[in-house]
Symmetry: C2
Subunit: 91 residues, 2 copies
DNA sequence: ACACATGTTTCTATTGACAGAAACAAAAAT
DNA sequence: ATTTTTGTTTCTGTCAATAGAAACATGTGT
C-alpha cells in the first residue's frame, strides 16, 4: 500500500484535535505556515477575491496564487468542495 | 480561529479517500514524498531499527532521522500512538 | 477602439529542508 | 578496558518552493 494512503487512513481515524497535534508534530513551522497560506489562498479564490488582492492581503507572491487557481479550475477538486462545505462555519 | 485548526477540522470530516485526494491536491509531489519518508522513519524507529539501518533502507540522511527520533522521545507523541494503532493493520 | 483591471507566466534571488560526510558522545559487546 | 555499534550534532553544498518584479494575455467597461 502506498504510504500517503496509509497516512490518510490513519488520519481518518483521528479527532480534530488529534489531527491538529499530528500535523504539528510531523510538519515544521515553516511547512505549517506554507500549508496555511495555501488554504487561505484557496478560500479567498473561492470567494472571488482578485489574485492581486489576495497577494497583498496574505503577503504572498502572485506565482503562488496561480498554483491555487489551477487547483480550483478542476471542478471536481476536493479542496473546492471542502472549502465550500466549511466556509459557512468559520467565516 | 487559527488556520491549521481550521484545516484539521475540515479534514476530520473526510473519508480516507477524500483525505488522500486533498493531500494530493494541496501538497507538491516532493512534499508528499517528504511526508511519506517522515512517516516511514517514525514507523521504523518505533520498530527499533537502528538509525543507520533506516538511513540506508530509506535512502535518507541521518540528520533527518534525528528529527524523527526527537518526536518519538515525547512519550505522549500523537505520532507514536497513531503508528502503534495502525501498525498491525498495514505491516 | 481604448484604457484599465485581472489572470498568467517568466526571470533572478532567497530560503529552509535535507543530502553527504565527518566528528563527537554514549552505550553495549567483547 | 577497549573495541564496536548506535545516537546525535555539525559542516558545506544542493534543490524545490516561492518572493519580488516585470512582462504578457485576456477580458470588461467605457
Amino acid at each position: 500500500m502506498d504510504t500517503l494512503k496509509e497516512i490518510s487512513n490513519s488520519i481518518a481515524k483521528l479527532s480534530n484535535e488529534e489531527i491538529n497535534a499530528f500535523l504539528t508534530e510531523i510538519l515544521t513551522e515553516k511547512e505549517i505556515s506554507t500549508l496555511s497560506n495555501r488554504w487561505r489562498i484557496l478560500k479567498m479564490l473561492n470567494q472571488n477575491f482578485s489574485q492581486r488582492d489576495i497577494a497583498s492581503k496574505l503577503n504572498v507572491s502572485l506565482c503562488k496564487i496561480t498554483r491555487g487557481a489551477k487547483i480550483l479550475k478542476n471542478k471536481n477538486a476536493i479542496s473546492l468542495r471542502l472549502i465550500r462545505k466549511t466556509e459557512n462555519e468559520f467565516n
